[in-house]
Structures are given as structure tokens and as C-alpha cells.
Symmetry: C2
Subunit: 211 residues, 2 copies
């Protein structure tokens, strides 16, 4: 059975998003990232910006400000759930629905965990060396007051904390992924090509095919 759904988790600046887009292009299947954010925003009534920033990121200020940013006047979350937990529940639902719709690539948002029981899901983690990532974020997102190395550290720390909080797992641990690729060694294009190759033809033999 080919892997119809590909989830891409990634370190900030590693090019995981570009890898995901390229994989979707090569396989000619939808790519969900912003689209997913939009759907979650519609279903929750939260602002898109809030969903984008808070949907995979455990910021220390989150609990304090989340209601203010979320525009909670418009919608009411499920009773007894915080804005964050409500967002998580809806995000899970949207991701499960998207996977049901058909082949696709989903970047980020703990999709590897949410779709962990699907046999047709290829789970990928993309990471890279610090200089590679630092150069990329400055080029793509511009300079900021913080040093790029510090920005990488902060962002990844928040993603790790979010992942741990909602999945109970360690972000980036090999047990969660079928492939973990360092794009600063593999290259973004080759990473995408390899993912496509494995997704199209996952190992179909029995273990006895190998010594």
C-alpha cells in the first residue's frame, strides 16, 4: 500500500515547508499549511493569525493573552476547555478530516501524532544545521532584534513544548518518524525526491527478502 498522506514536521528554518510543498508538487496532491490554518480559523472563530501562531507553539505568554488575541467575543469554546485546548481539539478534527478526503501533504501541527494510526501515512521530520537555518530565516523572514541563532532556539523550544504537552511525546525522537533528514547534508530537492520515492513504493516485501 502506498503512503497517501505525508506529514512533515520540521525544525524552524530547515526548509521542511519547502520540502513539503515540493513533495506535494511532485505527487500532484494538495499541500496543507495555510489552508489548514484557514479551516481551523473558520471552525473555531479564532483569528487566522492566532491560529497560525498558537497552533503549534507553546509561547510562555500564550495563556495570559490567548483570549485577547483570539477574538473570543465571537465564539465560545467548548465548555471547560481553554482557548488552547479548544484549538487543539478542532485542529485534530480538521487534520483527520483532511486525511480522510484523500492523498495530501500536511506540514506541522503535530499531524504525525494525530494520524499515527493510519497505515498509509509517511511521517517525516526535517532538520538542519544551525548556520544553514540561520541564513534561511534571515533571508526569508528578514532580520529582527534577536540574533538568528536565538530565534531558532526560541521557536524550536516552543514547538517542542507544544508537541510534548499535547502528544506526551518527544519532538524529533526517531520513534515518531519514518524518515528524519538533515537538509543541510541531503539538500532540499533530494530530500523531496527521496520522500516521494518511498511514499510511492514503501517497502512491500517481507523481512525475509533481506538477510
Amino acid at each position: 500500500m502506498s503512503k497517501q498522506i505525508i506529514t512533515v514536521s520540521r525544525e524552524f528554518g530547515s526548509g521542511g515547508r519547502t520540502v513539503g510543498k515540493r513533495v506535494a508538487e511532485l505527487l500532484d496532491v494538495p499541500y496543507y499549511d495555510k489552508e489548514l490554518v484557514k479551516q481551523v480559523a473558520v471552525e473555531t472563530g479564532f483569528d487566522e493569525k492566532f491560529v497560525e501562531q498558537q497552533g503549534e507553539d507553546a509561547s510562555p505568554w500564550k495563556n495570559l493573552f490567548s483570549y485577547a488575541f483570539a477574538g473570543m467575543g465571537r465564539h465560545q469554546p467548548m465548555q471547560g476547555l481553554s482557548a488552547d485546548d479548544f484549538l487543539w481539539v478542532i485542529q485534530c478534527k480538521v487534520i483527520l478530516d483532511l486525511a480522510e478526503k484523500g492523498p495530501c501533504v500536511i506540514v506541522g501541527r503535530c499531524a504525525d501524532y494525530i494520524l499515527r494510526d493510519r497505515e498509509d501515512c509517511l511521517k517525516v521530520f526535517v532538520h538542519a544545521n544551525v548556520p544553514f537555518r540561520a541564513e534561511r530565516i534571515v533571508r526569508l523572514y528578514g532580520e529582527s532584534e534577536q540574533e538568528p541563532e536565538k530565534r531558532l532556539e526560541t521557536k524550536d523550544k516552543r514547538r517542542r513544548a507544544y508537541y510534548k504537552h499535547y502528544t506526551g511525546r518527544d519532538w524529533g525522537s526517531y520513534t515518531n518518524y519514518d524518515l528524519a533528514l538533515n537538509t543541510s547534508v541531503v539538500g532540499i530537492e533530494r530530500a523531496a525526491q527521496f520522500i516521494v520515492d518511498v511514499a510511492k513504493n514503501p517497502f512491500a516485501g517481507t523481512p525475509t527478502d533481506h538477510p
Copy 2:
């Protein structure tokens, strides 16, 4: 610069050793596993069996029995070092020397950590799903009193503990490896081919080659 040295760390039964052998064959370079054990045995005076069993494996009985098994009557470890620590020191030396000699593939024994500062080292982690590994260990190493799933768990737990103790790092964490591949999804032959491709032509462009 091509990656001359390839280290393969692996879950028990994942086929990491077969991957390593195949990579060495495809690249036509030496493959070190038993050979490494022999050299460490010569340099320490320990029995080969002892080096093989204890050189990457933190057994709970190790400290208790290590001297008895090691045949310590023949050689004296460095003053103030336990048999295990002495073995570690020599193992590091042997691995650093082998890497200096020229291109090669080294399986296990924390070589990824020992060679972490070499720019020409490609660090690979090989893992696989439990049914795939369980079938392999029974076929390759025979049945035992313990269930295969339990044997996998025990062996990996010991490797993890050994790695943590001597490197301070988490075994299998993506940060330690350039590639982590699930052979039950990728297949052993494709894993080897991909490693060879990356080793021969690691990403040589600048990050700006990619969006």
C-alpha cells in the same frame, strides 16, 4: 567534500548492520564491526566476547561480573578506571584511528559521537517497526526463552543507557544524525542506496540554492 566515514547506529534487529555492510560494499570501503571488536580486544587484553557484549551495552549485571568475564588477570586497566571505562577509552582510540586511516563504515559503538567533530562523517540511525525486527532476530539469532519483543526492548534499553552514560546524549535523537531511516518502510537496499548517494554527493550548494 564527500562523506568518507559513515557511522551506522541502529535499533536491535532493524537491519542496520546489513545496511552498513551493503553501504561498504557499494562504496568499496572497509566495514568495521567485528574487526573493531578484535582490535579493541587486542589493545585491552579483554576477551573478544566481553568486548562485543559490553562495548555498547549497559547490562545491569555488568559492573558485578565484568572483571570475571573480562579475564582481567592478563591485563591491568589504566589506574583508577573501571573495566568499562577502560574499554570505552580504548574503543574511542580505536575508532578515531580507524577513521584516520581512510574511508570506512563503522557500525555501532557510539561512533557517531566519537567522530562528531569530523566534517567528513555521515551519521546514520537505522530503526524499524517491532514486527519487522522481531521476525528478523528470531530468524537470524534463533529463538530464546524470552519473547522476541521483550528481547528487542531489553537490548535497546541497554544500548540507550550505554549511549547516555558515555555521551550524555539521547540515543536516536535527530540532532545526533544526518539521516534516520525506518527500514521497515524504506527497505534495507533502498536505505543503503540512499546513504551512498548522500555520502558521495552531500549537499554542496549554498542555502540560497533553495527558496
